[in-house]
């Protein structure tokens, strides 16, 4: 495909277009949205993890002031879509999952057993506390370690051992490292609580305000569940206060809200509580992983083996790429991987930032670090000696790969050469000092997008797409692309999203939105240019598009003449130009493998007596193609580092396996980083365009910001202390004992 721009010209920096609304409280999030006649729903969760509900007493709740309805499996209106079996073709984001209030079976602790709807949130909350259930309890299964010991993992094609070259090559290599790594459940916990408002507009039409990363997928999920025409489901998601993957699906609570609104004939707002955020909207599954690497004394990896074991629910198989990065990151002819999942009395996990790659990179990048010490080689040098010049799985060239440049840029910025190679050799003010690094990779994608564009006589360019922005700054990046393409000031471009009435946009996941929709926006601008030039043809003869420069709102012709876009419209007697544009995958890409890369550098201080770990310097270097919006891109990387610090040092979902029940599902006990935990994260980008993936030269970046980060911290802690900690989070107890 042609590139529309000179890809080597960097984009100028702009501010977030929605920043002011967000920081001044004007942004209208779902939980804050108001409607006439609104009612409030509160979910009641089970207090057992496995068994059946034998009786449920709703009487006092029904009699409580303000209560309009109590829905349980005994009286829930049928959800017609539940009658069908699972349709795998629809994919995870298009529906499926727990069938809420469909039977009396309890599959996990906290599973909704009732929905109370009242005239105020407080009254609904109180009435919900009055609901008492009786259960037939069965033993809960929530411990992965026990499952690995006692149970068989789920079978299927996804879980077969994959072998490249010789399976056991690592065993006979002269230098070997091996280890078992544990990563606990981590929970997305975006600041904004998940919330749904549902309002029926007649029998076959419903309007839904939803916290979602996929406007269209929510529309499809609800249409599928209630057997509605997709166009009869109107979804609004104007602002999303973070998601990190938790809003990639339309969860059962949203179905419950739609169900209740139908039953009541009034709109229902349902906002999850923070404790429910741990149980009802997915999490990063706990994983236990064993990795072995064999190498030659000069640091060539000869063979690897990676076995990953993770949890899923007992009603859905949740798969992600735990071993994907092991297959990809290093040139290594011999490899065996096996991914295993176990059904548990847990709700279904879902992709959490960096998804499986973030989990898998922990053992891989720690093992590389361990190998570097075994070989007495600098960890960066070791990685360069095993640099994959082509895709090790299929030999394809990369559409672009600047990982080597990212290693160097990051190392330079960080001051890596100040590192003394021996562990426990650096000290400052009585603290042990350690340097650690790691790399991460994630597929660079481009999917299908559609936009509507309107250029009006007043000079405003409006572009619309049914995409949502869970935080990366989609509207900002699209504004940047359109303003650059059209030579229009940023304030003359208006990108509108979060509305299913707009042309379908992609679901915001897998770091692909900018690549996908950026392409569509670029193409739409190109079509607009063509139309503008057409207008000129009535006045000037024979103008080729290539001969026109689009700058500062005007077309500049070879003959020195120029005419503003608005004048061109006026001259043609047109109030506006409107068009729609769509774009899809790039067929060229079949010849290539495409990935974004990150390299994380971390300096830690570890207190030798108390085991306290403080991160006092972070540099993240990224190869994410050409950077479209410097500020939001840097913020993405910084946010990834903050999440990475949480995952490395403090985040841990704790379940008491005797009861299969959460112990710390609140923000006092489940720790995420506070400001004092986060140093000034420095970000550098290689900022070189990918010439194939999309016309803007961009690649994805949301995931790589996090992938590998935990390993960089663990590696730094090893360097500081000489102690290899293979279990996250790295809290003082683990450092001490």
């Amino acid at each position: 495909m042609d590139n529309f721009f000179d890809l080597n010209i960097p984009f100028a920096e702009i501010d977030r277009v929605d920043g002011k609304a967000k920081v001044t409280g004007k942004a209208d999030y779902v939980a804050e949205h108001d409607l006439p006649n609104l009612t409030y729903g509160v979910l009641v969760g089970s207090t057992i993890a496995n068994g059946t509900v034998t009786a449920i007493d709703t009487k006092s709740a029904e009699r409580a002031p303000g209560v309009l309805a109590v829905i349980t499996h005994l009286n829930a209106p049928k959800v017609p879509g539940y009658e069908e079996g699972e349709n795998p073709a629809k994919g995870r984001t298009g529906g499926g999952g727990l069938k809420i209030f469909n039977d009396n079976r309890i599959r996990f602790n906290g599973q909704p057993i009732a929905l109370v709807v009242a005239d105020t949130f407080e009254r609904a909350t109180y009435a919900a506390s009055l609901i008492k259930a009786q259960y037939n309890k069965e033993a809960p299964h929530t411990s992965l370690a026990d499952a690995i010991k006692n149970d068989k993992p789920i079978e299927g094609d996804n879980y077969k051992e994959a072998v490249r070259g010789e399976k056991d090559a690592w065993k006979t290599a002269p230098v070997k490292v091996e280890g078992t790594y544990i990563m606990p459940i981590q929970v997305h916990n975006p600041m904004e609580l998940h919330a749904t408002i549902a309002r029926w507009d007649g029998d076959d039409k419903v309007t839904v305000w939803e916290k979602t990363q996929g406007v269209v997928s929510t529309q499809q999920s609800i249409a599928n569940a209630f057997k509605l025409e997709q166009k009869n489901v109107q979804v609004y998601a104007p602002y999303v206060g973070g998601g990190f993957g938790s809003a990639l699906r339309t969860w059962p609570h949203a179905i419950a809200a739609v169900m209740a609104a139908k039953k009541l004939g009034r709109p229902v707002k349902l906002v999850l509580t923070r404790p429910q955020m741990f149980m009802l909207v997915g999490y990063r599954p706990e994983a236990i992983q064993h990795i072995s690497i064999g190498a030659t004394p000069d640091g060539k990896i000869v063979g690897m083996r990676h076995d990953a074991y993770a949890v899923t629910s007992n009603y859905e198989n949740f798969n992600e790429g735990l071993v994907a990065q092991t297959k990809q990151l290093y040139a290594c002819a011999n490899l065996a991987t096996k991914y295993n999942i176990y059904p548990m009395n847990l709700s279904t996990p879902t992709w959490m930032r960096g998804p499986g790659e973030a989990t898998g990179s922990f053992p891989l990048e720690c093992a590389l670090d361990e190998l570097s010490y075994a070989l007495n080689l600098d960890p960066i040098e070791l990685r360069k000696r095993n640099y994959a010049e082509t895709d090790p799985e299929n030999g394809k060239p990369y559409s672009s790969k600047f990982l080597r440049e990212a290693y160097d840029l990051g190392a330079e910025k960080f001051g890596w050469k100040g590192r003394k190679p021996q562990p426990r050799s650096m000290e400052e003010d009585g603290w042990l000092v350690g340097y650690g690094m790691s790399s991460g990779m994630f597929g660079a994608f481009r999917g299908e997008g559609r936009v509507r564009l309107k250029f009006s006589g007043d000079g405003m360019l409006t572009i619309q797409s049914a995409v949502s922005d869970s935080g990366p700054g989609t509207a900002t990046a699209m504004t940047r692309i359109a303003s650059d393409a059209m030579g229009l000031p940023v304030n003359k471009v208006n990108f509108e999203l979060g509305n299913s009435a707009f042309p379908p946009g992609p679901t915001q996941g897998g770091s692909s939105t900018t690549s996908t929709l950026g392409t569509t926006v670029s193409m739409a601008c190109d079509s607009l240019k063509k139309k503008l030039v057409e207008l000129l043809k009535t006045q000037e003869s024979e103008i080729a598009l290539a001969d026109v420069q689009f700058a500062q709102g005007e077309m500049r012709l070879k003959n020195g003449k120029s005419i503003s876009y608005t004048d061109a419209l006026k001259a043609a007697n047109l109030p506006s130009i409107e068009l729609t544009e769509s774009s899809g995958r790039n067929p060229e890409m079949q010849k290539y493998s495409a990935y974004s890369y990150s390299v994380h550098f971390v300096r830690v201080k570890v207190h030798p007596l108390t085991g306290v770990v403080r991160i006092d310097k972070v540099v993240s270097a990224g190869d994410a193609g050409r950077i479209i919006s410097e500020k939001t891109a840097a913020s993405q990387m910084k946010g990834g580092a903050v999440g990475g610090i949480g995952g490395a040092l403090m985040e841990e979902g704790v379940i008491d396996h005797r009861y299969g029940r959460w112990v710390n599902n609140n923000f006092a006990d489940y720790h995420v980083p506070v400001h004092a935990d986060v140093p000034d994260v420095e970000v550098v980008f290689v900022n070189k365009p990918d010439p194939v993936l999309n016309p803007n030269g961009s690649k994805g970046m949301g995931e790589i910001a996090l992938i590998g980060f935990a390993a960089a911290v663990a590696n730094a802690v090893y360097h500081a202390t000489g102690k290899r900690i293979r279990e996250l989070p790295i809290t003082p107890d683990k450092v001490l004992l």
Partner: protein
């Protein structure tokens, strides 16, 4: 949360009368702990008596005692000039607690009466002797990483979560309470209780009594060498895994007197008397600190997840004394 009545008396007498009249009533001060417990259904008062209108906010020094009203905010006490100068340990401990927002609501009395953060206590679907006597202790064989290593019983291994109280225990404070029968004073160390067979009782306050304030003796020598160390899972806004309040009266390299207390290890702030006695008259050396620390925790016992406190406790004490004396 259940429906409740609300009143806001203007005098101490009226507040005490209101509480005594009604067994389902509770005082509310900053509400930062009580409201959470009400929301979770852990406590269900039918009447709240808001005491924030009472004239118990003052902080003043009279002679060798600093009196702090029970309704002085944690933030005010921490930043108060008298406290910063005479009781720096208290100021440090307060600032190590909670967040700026919470400290700005929380009161001295409320801080003393805040309840344990044990996860089983907070979850009404779990067993807990403290919340519901007789149901068992969920933490004993459960997730007890935050729990006690000293003075616990098989009925309850919870810890008192306060930072402020650790400093007050080290500083030999006195609690002033007023009830229907008049005023009485309790040494700070006698205020909180060990769980024994009655873990539902956190302290020795009688039904109907109001904390009106604390009195803390000033000691300029101790004030010169005071340090509060808090070890937690993140840099700020987390409860202590272990904390140490230490104040030393030094003459050159010799420790004339030591005041030491530990938090995060017991059902009450734990005064380290044996270690104090050991250090008295000794040189400030790492070896002495280590010996004091191992004496201090001789009786300590882990319950599984919290075994690390058996190492972290003494280490934190040693580290605090090292920092304080510069050895």
């Amino acid at each position: 949360m259940i429906n409740f009545d609300y009143s806001k008396p203007a005098t101490v007498g009226a507040a005490i009368t209101a509480l005594s009249k009604d067994t389902k009533a509770k005082f509310i001060a900053g509400g930062t702990n009580l409201v959470d417990l009400m929301k979770r259904g852990v406590t269900t008062p039918e009447k709240l008596i808001d005491i924030t209108g009472l004239p118990l906010k003052g902080i003043e020094q009279s002679g060798t005692v600093v009196r702090i009203g029970a309704l002085a905010l944690n933030s005010e006490v921490a930043e108060n000039d008298i406290v910063k100068k005479q009781l720096p340990l208290l100021s440090q401990a307060l600032k190590a607690g909670a967040s700026a927002q919470i400290r700005n609501m929380a009161t001295v009395g409320g801080n003393m009466l805040q309840r344990t953060r044990c996860g089983y206590f907070y979850d009404t679907a779990m067993p807990c002797n403290k919340r519901e006597p007789g149901t068992g202790c969920g933490a004993l064989q459960g997730y007890n990483r935050m729990h006690a290593i000293l003075g616990a019983s098989d009925s309850c291994i919870a810890v008192h979560p306060s930072d402020m109280c650790v400093a007050l225990a080290a500083l030999d404070a006195t609690v002033v309470v007023q009830g229907p029968g008049g005023t009485r004073k309790l040494p700070f160390l006698d205020f909180h209780r060990l769980p024994g067979n009655t873990p539902e009782k956190d302290n020795n306050l009688q039904r109907g009594e109001l904390i009106t304030g604390v009195e803390v003796p000033v000691n300029p020598s101790l004030a010169q060498h005071s340090l509060y160390t808090k070890i937690r899972d993140r840099a700020s806004y987390a409860f202590a895994l272990v904390s140490v309040a230490a104040a030393l009266d030094m003459k050159g390299k010799t420790i004339r007197q030591a005041r030491l207390a530990m938090g995060g290890v017991a059902h009450k702030p734990w005064r380290l008397t044996i270690a104090e006695n050991f250090l008295q008259g000794k040189e400030a050396t790492v070896a002495n600190f280590q010996q004091a620390a191992s004496l201090a925790l001789k009786e300590a016992k882990g319950y599984g997840y919290n075994n690390f406190k058996l190492t972290l406790g003494p280490n934190t004490l040693v580290q605090t004394l090292k920092t304080l004396t510069g050895v």
